[in-house]
């Protein structure tokens, strides 16, 4: 490949090529290369002016403008939108549409483009417009004008310029591709760095290959410090490093990793040696046949401490509820003793009777038999009362189970029967038949029922006026809830209104702690229901709690 003729040693094709190739080396392809190419093209073509035009979407932009004058060539690497005043538009359009070069050796002669405004205005003597073609299509054009003599642009020279143009096109395309890649890389980098999680990756040997800004903050190692270090030595607490290494080995042997592709909770190590809880997801991927692992790490210290305090809160609530049950049982101890003594007393009395019947002459075996049967019943009843109380004061985590609200009410009423009797309170029941089941912890629910019964009794006992009557009724509400109502004939609420009584430490009782009702309300609310108080008519208080019906009943 050699030009048909030379204009001088400096412009030999070899020299040109060397200049161009030199410029094309290294990273900064762009500006030097374009500069060199433009110079070469201008000099080789002997042109007065040249433009390098690039297509961007449907627009054309000038990337470089070269002008020859006074024996030198100046190249202006400006980027500007191509205007009608820069070159003949008709020439441009022709080259763009046909993807063929346009060569006008003498514009004064009649040609396709003689009507072009630019040509008429500037009267360039000659014009060469070369489309820069790549596989992707037209990426730009080189436009040269004003060759000194019509004969300067021989086919051989044009061929050389085409070659230069092809080189320019290829370089520019690479430039664009790499600038696209850089842009994409920058974008990815920004996304990774703006992530709230620490994002990191390691290669097959466990060396860190990626370390984002959040990782720097979270672990205390800068990217340049972390990159290339062994991950497990940097952020995995010593006691887990073995497991990590084994896990990696196992992955390479079996392709399996129990910790991969899911969110797991681990402990991580900061630069200062402190450990902290993290949520990690690790995913393996392959690049050029080599495994890498990406990790997304989230610091869950705050979440953990919130969980811990929620747990403490629940534990405290449970303690309080238990304390309330024990206290209530304490208050009821006399009545409970009565409740247990009743069947025991009956058993003892029956035993006395049996002894007497046996000692009679003749012994009355039938009476003895009846007395013994009654003793069995009495004993069972005492046991029942005791086991109910034991269950009640046992400290156990809440266990929600399907239960019938009426049964729960009846058991508590039985437990408080003696207390009612002692306080001369008549307890009436109006329990609706066929109520749907509820999902509740029996003990907690009975604690609420017990508190409400005791409160009603206390209120009625404190006021000496009128009859003492507690009506407990159950029903199904319109909103598909089960509700239980406790209507007493006591003095009702103080002027502060019913809501006040639910506040912790509010009490009207000399020995009361004032926690009962607030505990009751939190229990009911924890069951998805509501506990409310209202004034009764004409007097007294009405407490109502609702519970959602268990699905499917």
């Amino acid at each position: 490949m050699s030009p048909a003729s030379d204009t001088g040693p400096d412009n030999s094709l070899e020299a040109l090529w060397e200049r161009v190739s030199r410029s094309a080396q290294g990273d900064i392809v762009s500006d030097h290369l374009i500069d060199a190419l433009m110079r070469a093209a201008i000099e080789y073509a002997g042109a007065g002016r040249g433009l390098l035009i690039l297509a961007r979407r449907d627009e054309y932009w000038i990337e470089a403008e070269a002008t020859a004058g006074g024996g030198t060539v100046s190249v202006d690497l400006r980027t500007a939108k191509l205007m009608a005043t820069d070159l003949p538009q008709s020439v441009l359009h022709y080259a763009v549409h046909t993807k063929e070069s346009v060569l006008l050796l003498d514009t004064a002669q009649v040609n396709l483009f003689c009507a072009d405004e630019y040509i008429r205005a500037h009267r360039p003597q000659s014009i060469l417009c070369l489309p820069l073609l790549r596989q992707t299509g037209l990426i730009g054009l080189i436009y040269l004008e004003n060759t000194p003599s019509p004969g300067a642009l021989t086919p051989a020279r044009i061929a050389v310029i085409k070659l230069l143009a092809a080189e320019a096109a290829m370089s520019l395309e690479n430039l664009h591709l790499s600038s696209d890649l850089r842009e994409r890389d920058t974008k990815t980098r920004r996304i990774i760095d703006s992530a709230l999680d620490a994002v990191l990756s390691i290669d097959e040997r466990g060396r860190i290959t990626e370390w984002n800004a959040q990782a720097e903050t979270m672990f205390g190692w800068r990217r340049d410090e972390a990159t290339g270090r062994i991950l497990s030595e940097l952020i995995i607490p010593p006691q887990y490093r073995d497991a990590h290494d084994k896990g990696m080995k196992r992955f390479f042997c079996t392709g399996e990793g129990p910790l991969l592709n899911r969110r797991i909770e681990l402990s991580a190590l900061r630069r200062d040696g402190t450990e902290f809880p993290v949520e990690v997801s690790i995913a393996p991927y392959q690049i050029d046949g080599n495994w890498e692992f990406s990790g997304f790490v989230r610091d869950v210290t705050e979440k953990k401490s919130a969980e811990a305090s929620a747990l403490r809160h629940r534990e405290m609530e449970m303690e309080l509820a238990h304390a309330n049950r024990v206290a209530t049982m304490g208050q009821l101890s006399a009545s409970i003793a009565h409740e247990v003594n009743q069947p025991i007393g009956a058993a003892v009395t029956n035993a006395h009777a049996a002894v007497r019947w046996l000692a009679a002459t003749p012994p009355n075996i039938d009476e003895v038999h009846q007395a013994l049967c009654r003793i069995v019943t009495n004993g069972n009843r005492a046991t029942e009362v005791i086991s109910r109380i034991r269950a009640f004061i046992k400290k156990a985590p809440p266990l929600k189970d399907r239960l019938e609200i009426n049964d729960a009410v009846l058991e508590v009423v039985a437990l408080t029967r003696s207390e009612a009797k002692k306080n001369e309170v008549v307890v009436e029941l109006q329990l609706a038949d066929g109520l749907p089941s509820v999902q509740a912890d029996r003990i907690q629910l009975q604690q609420v029922i017990l508190n409400l019964i005791i409160n009603a009794m206390d209120a009625m006992t404190a006021s000496s006026t009128g009859s003492r009557r507690l009506l407990i009724s159950s029903a199904k509400s319109e909103s598909n809830e089960v509700c239980v109502e406790f209507r007493d004939s006591g003095p009702g609420f103080p002027d502060t209104g019913p809501e006040r009584i639910f506040q912790a430490f509010y009490t009207t009782k000399p020995a009361g702690l004032g926690m009962g009702l607030s505990i009751c309300r939190s229990i009911i609310e924890a069951h998805g229901g509501q506990l409310q108080a209202a004034a009764g008519q004409p007097t007294g208080a009405v407490f109502t709690f609702t519970l959602p019906v268990q699905a499917g009943t």
């Binding site: 003594n341 007393g345 009395t349 009777a353 009654r374 003696s418």
Partner: protein, 136 residues
Amino acid sequence: MVSQYFISVVDDDESFREAMTSLMRSLGFEVEAFSSAEQFLASPRLGSTSCLIADVHMPTMGGVELHRQLVASGLTIPVILITAYPDDNVRARALAAGVICYLSKTFDDEALLGFVRSALVQGDHGVADDRIGVKR
């Protein structure tokens, strides 16, 4: 034991009522049981009762009040109070009001028998019986 004595038992607790009725019958007494004070007061047996055994705690009227009403209406039926929940204050008040005794429901049957005899003697207005020993 003589059987012309008629004993009434008043207790709202059915199991104890049954037990006491059986015990009294085993001792040779004629017995009738009532589940409330009101029921007893309305009963024709009110006048013929030689001794009343009543529970202290009952929903509408307890044994102490029942005794008070009997005294108030001039009926001198000897009353034995029985309770599953002994209380010293109630005992003191009841004894002061003139009941024969105030017993726990897990009583000693000899003691109860003693009090019943004592009650019957009291009912017979001065008929002494040496065998009656008041013990508790």
